[in-house]
């Protein structure tokens, strides 16, 4: 299948909500990416997390199987270091093949549950394929 997407994606407005309401894990407040890999080979992702007041942490290494979509909660990433909740962060996601990344947040801790979704920012590929 033809490659769709880009190799580098970024998220600037990460902040995992601290409070959750409702049954878990369905209603756990979270920041999450959905990664679509339309290629015929697995996509290997390396994620670096940037903070406001300390050095970046990473890479967090994640694989998305060929022709699959995978949801990855930032809440659950612990290698090399768990992300703090309720703290601003940005993420730089590098993939070895083109993928599509969508960012979503569920905040179930508020009176009315809030969900937002947005495409992550994709950088024009400076290296290799992925148009």
């Amino acid at each position: 299948m033809r490659a769709i997407g880009k190799r580098r994606w970024t998220i600037a407005g990460g902040r995992i909500p601290l409070e959750s309401n409702g049954p878990e894990p369905e209603f756990t407040s979270r920041d999450e990416i959905a990664v679509l890999n339309c290629c015929d080979s697995p996509a290997r992702l390396r994620i670096h997390i940037h903070y406001a007041d300390r050095p970046a942490v990473g890479p967090y290494e994640v694989e998305v199987a060929a022709r699959r979509v995978r949801r990855i909660r930032f809440n659950d990433l612990i290698f090399p270091e768990a992300l703090p909740l309720d703290e601003d962060f940005g993420a730089v996601i590098d993939a070895d093949i083109p993928v599509v990344v969508q960012f979503t947040r569920l905040d179930s801790g508020t009176a009315s549950r809030i969900a937002v979704a947005a495409a992550a920012y994709a950088e024009r590929n400076l290296q290799g394929s992925g148009r």
Binding site: L18, E24, P25, R73, I78, P80, A82
Partner: protein
């Protein structure tokens, strides 16, 4: 922290000695790596003449200070391997410095295996025995119970043989004694014929798991589970002889399925590149679920912001090793974890009282805050152990400042 394979003997004294996690750093006055038992004995005799202390170290996976010293440190890495075995009775004599992963390959070639393992198999035989390292399973005691005989170097620098049939009380004291009665050199282990195990991991929500926990723990050869504080899910890990596995598809999602010899399918994290710190307590098995419930509530209330690591819940069969976590009682162990790069003490110290309130005994090789005054009431054989220790090592050859505070001697 380098991600290269860790080895106690790869360190030189131009740098501090550090443990696996990097959380312990100290500088011994010298590090010896004897290749044979007589050299160990000579080192102890020399230490006795000079009034110095001497501590053995295995793979340094432990994160408690049981081997921290500013005097002589002896790596047992040179005394390793399978020396002899009896395939008919499933016994083998192996070096105390044998790393479990490497030893298991030798035992596999001889048609035998250890009955159980912890989550990692990077420990040495001597370290695993001496600290009461354990795996999980209601029918499986900690690894020290495989010790049925062997040889050790005494505080006087003599080589002493022992056998559980001839000196049962001595072996009960020796098993979990973290090198305070002598330095184990060769150990005779009770093993099992080589066999395969089928490992299956299933994911489900916390409460449905707790409703069937007792059944799960009784119908699987090895059973334990992780609880994940940031999703409130659990992952149960079940190992059984092929053909005897259970199907939990009606209420759980299969996450892993593999079959192999015990040393390949029980330890899952021997090669983990990222370091962590750990606190573990064992308590009577019947108190485990309530204790976990209280830990879960406290973590959700106070610690979710900074702690993403899972808790590990395991079963240990009762034993009769005097200082074993599971002495005299079928037990459950609960382990807390935190990335080694993040603060962990406040988290551990906040939850430690909950585990103590449920009759918890700390793992000797992991983080805890207890000293002799708090430990003595937890171990019915404490005073007998101390009396034997005094008899075997009146000069405190194998003691350090930390151990004197730990044992109260």
């Amino acid at each position: 922290m380098p991600n290269t394979p860790w080895s106690a003997t790869s360190q030189n004294l131009g740098q501090d000695f550090h443990n696996w996690s990097g959380g312990l750093r100290f500088r011994p006055s010298r590090l010896d790596v004897p290749e044979d038992e007589e050299t160990v004995a000579a080192l102890v005799r020399a230490a006795a003449r000079q009034g110095r202390s001497i501590r053995p170290v295995g793979s340094a996976h432990s994160s408690s200070e049981i081997y921290v010293t500013d005097d002589i440190l002896v790596s047992m890495a040179g005394i390793c391997g399978l020396r002899e075995h009896d395939a008919q009775h499933h016994r083998a004599t192996v070096g105390a410095g044998s790393q479990l992963t490497e030893l298991s390959k030798e035992l596999q070639a001889a048609g035998m295996t250890l009955s159980n393992f912890g989550d990692v198999a990077t420990q040495t035989v001597g370290g695993a025995i001496g600290t009461g390292t354990h795996g999980s399973g209601r029918d499986f005691p900690n690894l020290s119970m495989m010790l049925v005989g062997g040889r050790l170097v005494t505080a006087g620098g003599e080589i002493r043989t022992f056998d559980v049939e001839e000196e049962p009380d001595f072996v009960r004291a020796l098993r979990v004694s973290f090198g305070t009665l002598g330095i184990l050199t060769w150990t005779t282990l009770k093993l099992e014929p080589l066999h395969d195990l089928h490992r299956q991991e299933w994911c489900l929500a916390f409460e449905p798991c707790m409703e069937v926990l007792d059944k799960l723990s009784r119908e699987n050869r090895n059973f334990d589970f992780y609880w994940y504080p940031r999703s409130d899910e659990v992952k149960i890990r079940c190992l059984n002889p092929p053909g005897e596995e259970k199907d939990y598809g009606a209420f759980a999602r299969l996450a892993k399925d593999e079959t192999g010899p015990p040393h390949e399918v029980i330890p899952q994290h021997s090669d983990l590149p990222h370091r962590f710190e750990e606190m573990e307590y064992s308590m009577p098995a019947e108190a485990g679920p309530e204790c976990l419930g209280k830990l879960r509530a406290r973590i959700k209330e106070r610690w979710r912001r900074s702690v993403g690591w899972r808790l590990l819940f395991r079963y240990i069969k009762a034993d009769d090793s005097w200082l074993s976590e599971a002495y005299g009682r079928d037990s459950v162990s609960i382990s807390l974890h935190q990335n080694a790069t993040l603060p962990y003490w406040d988290f551990f110290l906040d939850l430690e009282p909950i585990m103590r309130d449920h009759g918890g005994r700390p793992h000797w090789a992991k983080k805890h805050s207890l000293r002799a005054a708090e430990l003595r009431p937890l171990y019915p054989m404490w005073d007998r152990f101390l009396a034997l220790r005094q008899e075997m090592d009146p000069g405190g050859r194998f003691l350090t400042r930390y151990l004197r505070g730990l044992l109260g001697c």
